[in-house]
Amino acid sequence: MSRSSRLPVQKGIRIRPATGENLSLLALLAVLVVVFSIASPRFLTGANLGSMGFQMPLLGLLTLAMLAPILSGGLNLAIVYTANISGLTLAWTLMQFGGAEAGIGAFMLGCVLALVVGALAGAAMGGVVAYVGAHPILVSLAMMIFLRGLGEFLTRGGDISGFPDYMRILGHGSLVGVPVPLIIFGIVAFGWHMLLRRSPHGFSVYMTGSNMKAAEYAGLNAKRTLVLIYTLSGVLCAIAGILMAARFNSVRVGHGEAMLLITVLACFLGGVDPFGGHGRVAPVVIALVILQVLSSGLNLIGANQHLSTAVWGLFLIAVMVMRSSQLRHTFFFLFGKGK
């Protein structure tokens, strides 16, 4: 939003900036889908779409967990390890009740405990950020190292595996053809959208993210907002951790480590202001789909997996360049004159 406000005022139809952001990302997505469909006949098959639907939700949940702290002007570098520790909590609970033989009640209890652990990790970070005033990067980095160390100590660096069979439904099942993880992600994304865009708490997150002092002068409880948003970020990490355990049928500290920076990338690709205060769930979700399409598509046309990571990086740089207001001004100057 702040970007478009710098452009010359255009009379006539007023496209809400957020809608414009969605449209340009959707256009990009459409181009990628067309290109990959032509390049590989297998791209638009049910099997490929299904596998994409199973792969994306994990990264998606962690990205949403990253999104809210960024909106509040911070960052949460501990997302992956929060997810791991929460998964570990679930695994430990299941082990107490017989591992693979554990009943559904034990599983429920494990999930609740996992969510509590995730929430506590988040609340601790939020508390320090809000009341001590320490920089979120440092706080979450410290939390990340603490959780990693703790997790490695508890598991002695190994895996915990052998979960009950019914957990496979969560990780690998489908409901009327839609992968269960994707359904969970959809529900969480919708809830996240409602919380951020429609609730007073969400409003406070955006305001705190653009100027904490001014938000307090206006009577918002910015500190409480920060604690709340890091806590909820931790809860999302815990959901991701439970899903991870169900998908891999094992828990290991460090699982999904590579996703940390990709979540930041997905947020920025989705137009989130790196300094806080602006960004929406919908474009970030579209950005996630774009990243998934890129990775699956490249995989299908036989590109090396590491190459696809490199392409993600190049892609992000290209998007930044295209978004820069300077370039847009130049474009406007060259082609937009007289309109």
């Binding site: 939003m1 406000s5 809400r16 305001m207 653009s210 002092k213 001014a214 009577g219």
Partner: protein, 501 residues
């Protein structure tokens, strides 16, 4: 015209025009500055002042110009570097200095990194910078880091930097906007000294009182057109404001007595160590109580205690007859208090956010439905109500607040607080960076609020403002209320003398 005659002008522009897109920023404007003259360029925000300055130094090239002449020489095409070489300097409001460099380095900056850098001899540089400061008659440590200096001292450093470039014509854009009255007086002394040395100064300022004090002539621009050039002798603030805005600005004492009005707020013996002590006063419903005094007198600190942002060490407060001791600003707002901060840019508004979000930020609770969600219809109804009520000029409510002028931004701040339906409104220096026309608009609103029974505490160090808006005036100095005045029984010069003596 003979050369001798032309020599007497530092700058002559004849019939200069400049357009941006469809907007005629300058329309055949004439502008002349005599050598060694203090000249004021006056006009409301967006009237073309900045464009005019930028045209002189070649940031903008005019579409049309009959004559551009600097120091008696006709100039065809000019650019900022050439302008500086000829002796023209502009000190913009943000000063464009380097906070992490020393005073000496800032003053000598253009020698250090000009297009043709001279070999840097540090000791020589420091000596020359020191000479310039001596010439200005100020005492600032050359080795100090700029970030350690107060804004007034930075202003002096910026002037010194211009002099280091042998400037003979200096444009100063709103130089006093963030200075206190004492600092302003000191700056004006420096300006007079420079003028006596033959340096021409063009002063751009919203503060009409100081315009009339310092300048010999004033050029008024309105909507890109030249209104006229006037000697300041015999000119009044009211007349100048009228020329700038095109309509009459009323400035008369409007103080009233309110014998029957109930007391809204009362402070008794309020003390906060190191900031203020033994403050007692009351504000009645519908009353505008002026609180004046020098910056540092403890005015803002008092407002912060009234808003619960700081806690007093001693004393009592009462709001609507009940004891009042807010633990934080949220309790104060719930109690019916509202506070327009003195720092609109970084505390009063969230510059990155939209006009509508800035308007509703303090009343979210009212807009929230039973489901815990913010109602969009309620929100836009509230926003459009206040936009209309206060006459805020906006494009769309979803535009960023930073797209508005200072006056319209301040109206949004007022809208935000009025939406909370306060009983007492504290206005802390509400017209800083707001131009004459908008200022009158804001005070019209304040007046009508008072008529409706809102109690208002107006904090300001602009004496004319305090005189013409208040029903009663409290004078605060050194953390104490030293005297109370009736605006009808005192004149502006008398009050000025009381405050600055």
């Amino acid at each position: 015209m003979t050369t001798a005659e032309a020599d007497r002008y530092a700058l002559r522009l004849h019939k200069v025009s400049k357009a941006f897109g469809g907007v005629q920023a300058l329309n055949r404007v004439d502008f002349e500055v005599r050598a060694g003259e203090v000249h004021c360029l006056a006009g409301e925000n967006g009237c073309g002042k900045s464009t005019l300055i930028k045209t002189v130094i070649g940031v903008h090239q005019p579409e049309e110009a009959e004559l551009i002449e600097l120091f008696g020489e006709k100039v065809d095409r000019i650019n900022p570097v050439k302008a500086r070489e000829l002796g023209v300097s502009v000190i913009w409001q943000d000063l464009a200095l380097f906070p992490h460099m020393t005073v000496a380095e800032n003053i000598a900056f253009d020698d250090l990194v000009g297009l043709r850098p001279r070999s840097v001899r540090y000791r020589e540089m420091v000596r020359r910078a020191g000479d310039v400061l001596d010439r200005l008659g100020v005492d600032i440590s050359l080795g100090a880091s700029l970030s350690d200096l107060a804004i007034a001292q930075r202003q002096v450093v910026a002037i010194a930097r211009a002099l280091m470039n042998n400037a003979r014509l200096i444009f100063m854009d709103e130089p006093t906007a963030s200075l206190t009255q004492t600092e302003t007086d000191r700056l004006l002394d420096i300006v007079r000294k420079l003028s006596a040395d033959g340096v021409a100064i063009v002063f751009v300022s919203h503060r009409l009182a100081e315009v009339l004090e310092i300048a010999e002539r004033v050029t008024v621009v309105r909507d890109g057109n030249l209104v006229g050039v006037y000697p300041t002798e015999g000119m009044t603030q009211g007349r100048l404001g009228e020329l700038m805005t095109g309509h009459l600005i009323e400035d008369e004492v409007v103080a009233r007595d309110l014998p029957d009005a109930p007391t809204v707020f009362q402070a008794t013996g309020l003390t906060r160590r190191g900031e203020f002590s033994d403050i007692s006063f009351r504000i009645k419903a519908g009353e505008v109580l002026g609180l004046t005094g020098l910056i540092g007198a403890g005015r803002t600190e008092l407002a912060h205690v009234m808003m619960g942002m700081r806690q007093p060490d001693a004393g009592q407060m009462a709001l609507n007859g009940a004891s009042y001791r807010p633990a934080n600003i949220r309790e104060a707002i719930r109690g019916g208090m509202a506070y327009v901060s003195e720092d609109r840019l970084s505390l009063g508004l969230l510059q990155k956010q939209s006009i509508e979000d800035n308007t509703v930020i303090s009343v979210l609770r009212k807009l929230t439905t039973a489901a815990g969600l913010i109602s969009d219809t309620q929100k836009s109804r509230l926003v459009s109500h206040w936009i209309r009520e206060l006459g805020v000029k906006i494009g769309a409510a979803s535009d960023a607040i930073s797209t508005l002028s200072g006056g319209n931004q301040q109206k949004v701040v007022l809208a935000k607080w009025l939406a909370t339906e306060p009983r007492l409104l504290i206005l802390d220096s509400p017209t800083v960076g707001v131009d004459v026309g908008a200022r009158a608009g804001i005070f019209r609103i304040v007046r009508s609020l008072a008529e409706k029974g809102l109690a208002i505490l107006l904090i300001s160090d602009e004496v004319t403002e305090i005189m013409h808006q208040s029903d009663r005036i409290l004078h605060m100095a050194g953390g104490r209320i030293v005297e109370e005045y009736d605006p009808r029984a005192i004149s502006v010069p008398q009050l000025e003398e009381k405050i600055y003596a």
